[in-house]
Point group: C2
Chain length 235, copies 2
DNA sequence: GTCAAATTAAATATCGTTTTTTTATGCCAT
DNA sequence: ATGGCATAAAAAAACGATATTTAATTTGAC
């Protein structure tokens, strides 16, 4: 059965070791995060079963795993739905992200060794570079910018050892990305974030916990204004 | 098929509306939280399938839902396990709980109306009462104390509107309870918490956000010392 | 004509078997 | 003995058919 192996891009030479559940899970996850599956839309088992060429319980289990990150909902005897969106929800996500990411930065600064510092410098450099190249040809570079932006934020907090904190934060980060993608018709960097990144970078490198926390909070909060300007459809 | 309906206590007259998945999920969840299922122990599908008299995919889906709260783990092609425990993990849970519950109290104090306040007063009264009655006959009252303690904490933050915050906090709270139950041979209240509860109560009622936050943090953190004294088996 | 009950259709939930993978056992050569 | 290899046993994953439940439609009474 090569339906799935063909569907998911598998660049490596070896055949994928993932289970069918994981394949379906990963595929649906991407579609939801990309906004290709509309919020609150129904996820019919039979439909997905045929689309992916797998059994119904495989689909159900894949959907069940999406419950972990809150990307789908399920209720009683009436199936699965793509997680809904609302301004209120987005505000709450942002508030939680500020709380968690601020704390993660503090811990990272406290525990971070040379290794962490160089990872962070490298990530900042990569992000900085693309932010310089971007103006004018946004369309071609947004995808790469998104990746490097994530890597920058990840590197920053990679010396934080609290797995619960990192886990919760990642869930929230992914939801943020989803909201941005859903609300964006033309994908482009929502605002000039370069200066913000540089300021955070300097604060972290100088091991200024208070400043790093403050800048991180401001940085994340700014996305609310952007989202509200785009008038995200309320539920 | 009444195997499950008979197993779970169903006091109401109407037949249970829960799905089989939810029944198995709830049952396993309780066993894990109570420490009846040993940390890291394997959860064999076939075994559970027979025990509950359900199909294998029902079991798998129930186990998948336990992934949401991190009560089980799963890896590649080698099944499900009960979530492991460690001192490090417990410390992280406690730290996260302090962070989230402190924030939740602040928001609750800010937004709380009369309704919230009376709910909180009532919950405090109920907890206070059992804490007075307890000394001497701990064994008979711990279960009820646990319930009222939870209700007290829940009522306190019930004016907080951030669903993500409440959701994450509840997961952490449940894990805390699990750790206490696992580490306890004779179930008894770990220490004199009465004064702490009263202090928190007064701070909240006086709408003193800073004090309420501080006391909440201290209150939750104290459990680490208790746990370390009990020398929880490391992984 | 409207509402409600009954019927039909659609979709979810559940089951038990089959396939695939992993782990344990035993054999042989070194 | 020991280490590697083939084989057997066990377990997980996957499948598709069946049973239940919910939603939609029709029918009938007032």
């Amino acid at each position: 059965m090569m339906t799935l192996a063909g569907a998911g891009l598998n660049l490596g030479a070896k055949t994928s070791v993932k289970t069918a559940i994981e394949e379906v899970y990963a595929s649906l996850r991407q579609e939801i995060l990309n906004g290709e599956l509309a919020p609150q839309s129904r996820l019919r088992i039979e439909e997905l079963r045929q689309r992916y060429g797998v059994g119904s319980s495989t689909v159900r289990e894949a959907l069940s795993r999406l419950l972990v990150e809150n990307l789908v909902t399920t209720e009683g005897q009436r199936g699965f739905h793509v997680a809904p969106v609302s301004i209120k929800d987005f505000r709450e996500i942002v508030e939680m992200r500020t709380l968690l990411e601020a704390r993660a930065v503090r811990e990272s600064i406290q525990h971070g060794d040379d290794d962490w510092e160089s990872r962070f410098v490298a990530a900042h450099h990569r992000l900085s570079k693309i932010e310089t190249e971007m103006p004018g040809r946004e369309k071609a570079t947004v995808d790469e910018w998104e990746i490097r932006n994530r890597e920058f934020h990840n590197a920053m907090i990679s010396a934080c050892t609290n797995l619960w904190l990192l886990n919760f934060r990642e869930i929230l980060y992914n939801h943020s990305v989803r909201y941005l993608r859903i609300s964006l018709t033309e994908r482009t960097i929502p605002r000039d974030v370069r200066a913000e990144h540089d300021a955070i970078f300097n604060a972290v490198i100088n091991r200024d916990q208070d400043l790093a926390e403050k800048l991180t909070i401001d940085h994340i909060r700014k996305s609310v204004a952007v989202m509200e300007a785009r008038k995200l459809g309320e539920t």
